[in-house]
């Protein structure tokens, strides 16, 4: 077999059954054949524009048919896609454009007016290609064209001309230096997971997958690649539905969703406020949740309403995809029980290493979790230092060039050999399913004029995992209000990283070693803002 890449999943399913539905969005359907030919046409256009194998092409899309056309067109041209959060501040998009030396950016017509007007004209960007047949937009510094003006006729199948070791996509996550970290994943990295997942969850062409996660979030990889591998349909859930639990239940009922994949907090919302009794949720057969703990009382309610469904607590990171899974069985009576993150999925090996560098084999002993597979990413885009820190030499095969991913997560094993999540080795926290380097938020706050120093503490929350609370000491040079700091952060950080509450206290309490007393501040925050 010649080289097999992610876009070939679509090519092959479209060849087998071009008439089957690939995508469902707001009452419309797009067939495999149509998705294939539209993305092929755009791919040809991108090659005409000068996109070459290995290039990075940005994508700014909400859920839409055009979004998938764009992602597949980019991969088919041999380039890798770099999804940008459509609601993130444009200054963050500029950083990503610079970080990846992007020349071409594909953008939905709804988001284009803002991005075209606000993107920095002084970067590597040469072309912004906007969905739709035509566009009226123009800018200094880069050309603006429409999909319709760029796309070829789609008759010629562009072959990417790369190997499966090339990056397929680069996902940016929070970085403590203030620059988002670009995690570069190859076609092989993704396919190792996708092929396994299709088997493990027994996906078939009769399934209807939901696409809940946005494209810049790695959970989205499961949704459409696994579905496309087996020729199933993917229902693209409009972003605004995810905060309205009743709407989610209505959506499951209406589309007969069979495979659900999301962060846990969305399922918590469904159980708590979704009015599950009013809808038929019986179509659900596999429910995959991750990112944070799903409280047992909600899991119990969900299981009762979706009796046919298997529930799977999945654990992973952007850097190595989902490596572990705990299939939920009988639930214990004690609501304080915490769902384990489970055991390694097929195609993965995981183990924990203690502080002395020895593999943990006994239950109850804490260690850092390592992942061994062909899924761990190529590395952090253009950051060899950080890549070397996290993608490490395999202690069992010191002679080999393959690397393990050191997750930075502390785990311990239970008596059945399931891993339990204990905490982090560093200052990384999870909120709304996203990983956040609190150093990145602190760096942003410290740049506010008048701020001496700010620290972030977290308050555990059932729904979103962690609430982000800031404590700030002022330098006295000018008056600063909490809202000034929040506004400054919102212009620079994605919404999930902006502190919810800012407390100003000068000076901040210190420990005996003159460090800021983070633990004390956290305790006070929990007292004031915890449930």
């Amino acid at each position: 077999m010649t080289v097999y890449l992610l876009p070939h999943l679509l090519r092959d399913s479209a060849a087998r059954h071009p008439e089957r539905t690939a995508l469902i969005f707001k009452g419309d359907k797009l067939s495999y054949g149509e998705l294939e030919s539209r993305s092929a046409a755009l791919a040809a256009g991108l090659v005409e524009l000068g996109v070459a194998p290995g290039d990075r092409v940005g994508t700014v899309f909400d859920k839409s048919f055009d979004a998938l056309v764009a992602l597949f067109a980019v991969m088919r041209s041999g380039a890798c896609y770099v999804p940008i959060d459509p609601v993130a501040p444009t200054s963050r998009a500029d950083k990503i454009v610079r970080n990846t030396d992007m020349k071409v950016l594909l953008c939905s017509k709804d988001r284009a007016p803002k991005f075209v007007a606000e993107l920095d004209p002084q970067t590597t960007l040469e072309h912004v290609v906007v969905s739709g047949e035509t566009t009226e937009l123009s800018a200094e510094g880069f050309a603006v064209k429409a999909f319709g003006a760029v796309a070829g006729d789609g008759a010629a199948l562009v072959e990417p001309g790369i190997t499966d070791t090339y990056p397929a996509y680069i996902l940016h996550t929070s970085g403590s230096t203030g620059m988002p970290k670009g995690v570069a994943l190859s076609h092989l990295n993704a396919l190792t997971f996708v092929n396994m997942a299709a088997d493990y969850w027994q996906a078939t062409a009769d399934d209807v997958f939901v696409s809940h996660a946005p494209f810049h979030f790695d959970l989205s990889v499961f949704d459409f690649y696994v579905a496309f591998k087996v020729g199933a349909a993917v229902a693209l859930l409009p972003e605004s539905y995810s905060i309205f639990p009743k709407k989610l239940c209505e959506y499951i009922d209406k589309h007969g969703i069979t495979v659900w994949n999301s962060v846990s907090s969305v399922l918590t919302l469904i159980a708590e406020r979704g009015k599950m009794d009013a809808y038929d949720l019986g179509s659900m057969r596999a429910i995959i949740f991750s990112g944070e703990v799903l409280p047992l009382k909600y899991l119990r309610q969900l299981k009762a309403k979706m009796p046919k469904a298997g529930f799977f607590n999945v654990y992973g990171q952007t850097e190595a995809n989902s490596s572990m899974c705990y299939p939920v069985g009988e639930l214990p009576a004690d609501d304080g029980w915490k769902t384990p993150i489970g055991k390694a999925l097929p195609n993965f090996e995981v183990f924990a290493v203690d502080g002395e560098g020895n593999k943990v084999s006994a239950p109850g002993v804490e260690g850092e979790l390592y992942v061994r597979s062909s899924t761990p990413a190529l590395g952090y885009w253009r950051d060899p230092e950080r890549t070397a820190e996290r993608f490490v030499v395999d202690p069992d095969r010191p002679w080999a060039s393959t690397r393990l991913y050191a997750t930075g997560d502390l785990v311990k094993m239970d008596a059945e050999g399931n891993f339990l999540f204990v905490g982090r080795k560093d200052h990384l926290v999870k909120s709304r399913g996203y990983r956040i380097e609190i150093g990145e938020i602190e760096l942003a706050m410290n740049a506010v004029d008048g701020v001496q120093q700010g620290v972030i503490v977290t308050v555990p929350d059932d729904l979103i995992g962690n609430r982000i609370i800031a404590w700030v000491e002022l330098d006295g040079s000018r008056e600063v209000e909490p809202n000034d700091i929040i506004a400054y952060c919102r212009e620079r950080l994605p919404h999930y990283m902006v502190p919810e509450i800012v407390e100003i206290e000068t000076p901040l309490p210190k420990t005996s070693t003159m460090k800021i007393d983070r633990k004390g501040l956290q305790a006070r925050s929990i007292e004031t803002h915890g449930k």
């Binding site: 009743k246 919302l269 400054y488």
Partner: protein, 81 residues
């Protein structure tokens, strides 16, 4: 103050202080622009109760009622009757 103005002031001072009230139109989407997220909408609902004595039911908790400031104001006015 009109209901819509009160809601706008709350959104631009408490929920999204980076937003300039003069630039937030009453018919502009709050949902597709990230102005309202899951946490903020919960706060907004608590505010509607405190300020107007309006309790949003699960049935009313729908994107149609929260898409814009106008939509929220309409919901409040209908419920105040």
């Amino acid at each position: 103050m009109a209901v819509a103005d009160t809601i706008k002031t709350y959104i631009t001072t408490e929920l999204a202080p980076d937003l300039d009230a003069s630039k937030l139109a009453n018919d502009q989407s709050l949902l597709t622009t990230g102005v309202l997220d899951s946490l903020r909408i919960v706060k907004l609902i608590a505010f509607l109760d405190d300020e107007f004595g309006v309790e949003v039911t699960d049935d009313e908790f729908d994107p149609d009622n929260f898409e814009t400031i106008d939509a929220i104001a309409k919901l409040v006015e209908e419920k105040k009757g």
